[in-house]
């Protein structure tokens, strides 16, 4: 009996990029790894310390594929990775797991992306997907907010986002900052500021759960249907493949049935505090 599912492959960190305070992107090279689709995640293993679930924030195909993982140091394993793992070091890696964004199902639609903070990580492959297959989608809107300008991810790409044809890209920060000339306030406020054609729009949202709820409700108010609004949810996630049980949300296993859900599917569960 092959006991493979929980075994990591050996990955090598080929590059580390500082993104924001306590946030770095780790480019991990690994052989014979299935291609992740946008919104899927990997499980990274820091030897002897434990595993963490991290979205694939970019994928570069090749003989050895390279995947980018944007990690925020916030707990035991992520702090360890932040402090100890650099270019040339190894990280265990398994995946890709979960159901990603159903972007292929929505060819021809206008695409709206709403991201908050570190939540931009799983959305990043979507941006790439839309920009690379530009003719397959309608209008592209990206709304991204962070607490402070420094907390924004992928600052080195923001200009590129703006160059995507037929697109609106808006950024926000939570509180005024001398260097900031964009919007100040919640990213969800930006939803009111953009043109939407509800019948023909699909929305992809990721950020803190409250922000996703506010965003979704606003989008519904603007006429989007709940089954066209997709969220990437988060719960305590240990095994990543739906057997350890810790990520359950109602009857869903966030890792296996998600992390991407349509708002329609999870709305009743999200409506109950602590369910």
């Amino acid at each position: 009996m092959a006991l493979g599912r929980l075994l990591p492959k050996v990955g090598r960190v080929v590059k580390v990029v500082d993104e924001a305070p306590l946030v770095r992107t780790y480019h991990v090279e690994v052989e014979e790894f299935p291609e992740p689709s946008p919104g899927q995640f990997n499980v990274l293993y820091a030897k002897g310390m434990g595993e963490v679930v991290i979205s694939v924030s970019n994928y570069v195909a090749g003989g050895k594929s390279v995947m980018e993982h944007t990690v925020r140091a916030i707990g035991s394993v992520t702090n360890y990775i932040y402090a100890k793992i650099g270019a040339g070091d190894q990280l265990g890696i398994r995946g890709p797991y979960g159901k990603g964004w159903p972007i292929r199902e929505f060819e021809g639609y206008d695409v709206l992306i709403v991201g908050g903070g570190i939540g931009l990580a799983p959305l990043r492959p979507l941006i790439k997907c839309v920009s690379e297959g530009r003719d397959r989608y309608g209008r592209f809107t990206l709304l991204y907010g962070a607490r402070r300008p420094v907390d924004m991810l992928y600052k080195y790409e923001h200009e590129e986002y703006g160059r995507i044809p037929d697109s609106t890209v808006l950024f926000s920060i939570d509180a005024p900052h001398p260097s900031w000339r964009g919007y100040v306030g919640f990213v969800t406020d930006l939803i009111d500021k953009v043109k939407l054609e509800p019948a023909n729009t699909v929305a992809f949202v990721c950020g803190p759960e409250v922000m996703m709820k506010v965003a979704s409700d606003k989008l519904l108010k603007r006429g989007l249907k709940a089954d066209r609004v997709f969220l990437s949810l988060e719960r305590r996630c240990r095994c990543g493949v739906g057997i350890c049980g810790s990520c359950q949300l109602g009857h869903y296993f966030v890792c296996k049935d998600g992390p991407v859900f349509s708002y329609q599917d999870v709305k009743p569960y999200l409506a109950v505090r602590g369910l």
């Binding site: 009996m1 929980l6 707990g75 810790s246 109602g250 009857h251």
Partner: protein, 359 residues
């Protein structure tokens, strides 16, 4: 094809154990270890807990010596054998090359497990379908022999959950002990061949009749919950009612005994360790949703209050499992009632949900 019943006496059970052992199988059953009801390997009829009765109530379990007694189960369940409490997952010593732990796959037979246990195995089979470690242990089970519950215990409610007191499928042999006689039936071809090997006679009509009567009475006794669909409906409706859940869980201390003894609770946590020579080990162990860490993430908590975790337990058993795997996750064994040190009665809670909903 009409069901074929065979008759024998207790010695036939001993013979059955011998036959299974003769096939090189470890025969696992409820047995006594000193004065403790455990689940482990048995070698002969003598090892079975026949002649004992388990008297169960909320927060109370007593074994009494009683020739005519009937033994149901203990805090053990087949889960201990199929989904062990602590398991090694892998070790990595050479860089990050992880070597999977060996899973003991010596062939075994589960013997004298109860219909609720059988139903629980079916639940685990589905929910742990993609768990390689579980599957390895599970496929080592060559035979399942079920003892039907002619006398349900005071905390049992398998009649309500439809998981007992008779076995309905997924077994090889089922037997019922009826006043010194034992009635056998096969649940599979392999089971039938086993019974043939026992060389038992066809059961006489009166014994079969007696069996039907006894099981009917047992079903009645073990159906103390409101109808299952009413329970499910009421639970769904109750989910948002914080006050109700706070109240029914007010006596809970979050010890997670209920999770640990529940034959269908499968959640695990992972433990990592290392040494300084470059070896690392990953293990997993049972973890209860009533425990604090369940729902906790770095920097916040999705179920910070105990009532939320308690609610999850109950809703999961009756509502969410149904949606996950098409079966109720509660098999009505009553273990969580007996082994809750606070004596919280799930059956009562569920009944209260129903009356709360309609009242």
């Amino acid at each position: 094809m009409p069901m074929r019943y065979f008759a024998g006496d207790s010695s036939a059970l001993g013979d059955l154990i011998s036959i299974l052992r003769g096939r090189g199988l470890a025969v696992l059953s409820y047995r006594l270890w000193g004065d403790l009801p455990v689940f482990g390997e048995v070698e002969s009829l003598r090892d079975l807990s026949i002649g004992y009765s388990d008297v169960q109530g909320p927060a109370s379990y007593r074994l009494v010596r009683d020739e005519r007694g009937f033994f149901r189960h203990s805090y053990y369940s087949p889960k201990y054998a199929l989904h062990p409490p602590i398991q090694d997952i892998y070790e990595a010593s050479n860089g990050l090359r992880a070597v999977p732990a060996r899973v003991d796959t010596a062939p075994m037979a589960l013997f004298g497990i109860k219909p609720c246990d059988l139903a629980a195995i079916e639940v685990l089979d589905r929910v742990l379908e993609s768990d390689d470690f579980y599957r390895a242990r599970r496929s080592a089970v060559a035979y399942i022999v079920v003892e039907e519950c002619v006398e349900p215990g005071d905390t049992c409610f398998c009649g309500s959950t439809g998981t007992g007191p008779a076995a309905s499928g997924g077994f090889d042999v089922a037997y019922a002990r009826l006043e010194g006689r034992v009635l056998f039936r096969a649940g599979s071809e392999r089971g039938l061949r086993l019974l043939e090997e026992l060389k038992l006679g066809e059961a006489p009509g009166d014994l079969v009749e007696r069996y039907d009567e006894v099981m009917e009475e047992a079903r009645r006794k073990s159906s103390r919950l409101p109808p299952l669909d009413a329970v499910i409906k009421a639970l769904e409706d109750s989910a948002a009612s914080e006050g109700f859940w706070r109240e029914v869980s007010a006596r809970c201390v979050g010890c997670a005994n209920c999770n640990m003894v529940c034959p269908t609770c499968f959640c695990t946590e992972f433990i990592d360790s290392a040494d300084l020579s470059g070896r690392a080990r990953r293990q997993r162990q049972w973890f209860g949703c009533l425990s604090y860490t369940y729902g906790q993430v770095a920097g916040m908590h999705f179920r910070p209050e105990l009532f939320m975790r308690y609610r999850h337990f109950v809703l999961h058993k009756f509502v969410f499992y149904q949606r996950q795997i098409g079966l109720p996750g509660c098999v009505g064994c009553g273990r969580c009632i007996t082994w809750c040190p606070m004596g919280i009665d799930l059956g009562e809670v569920v009944s209260r949900v129903v009356s709360h909903g309609s009242g």
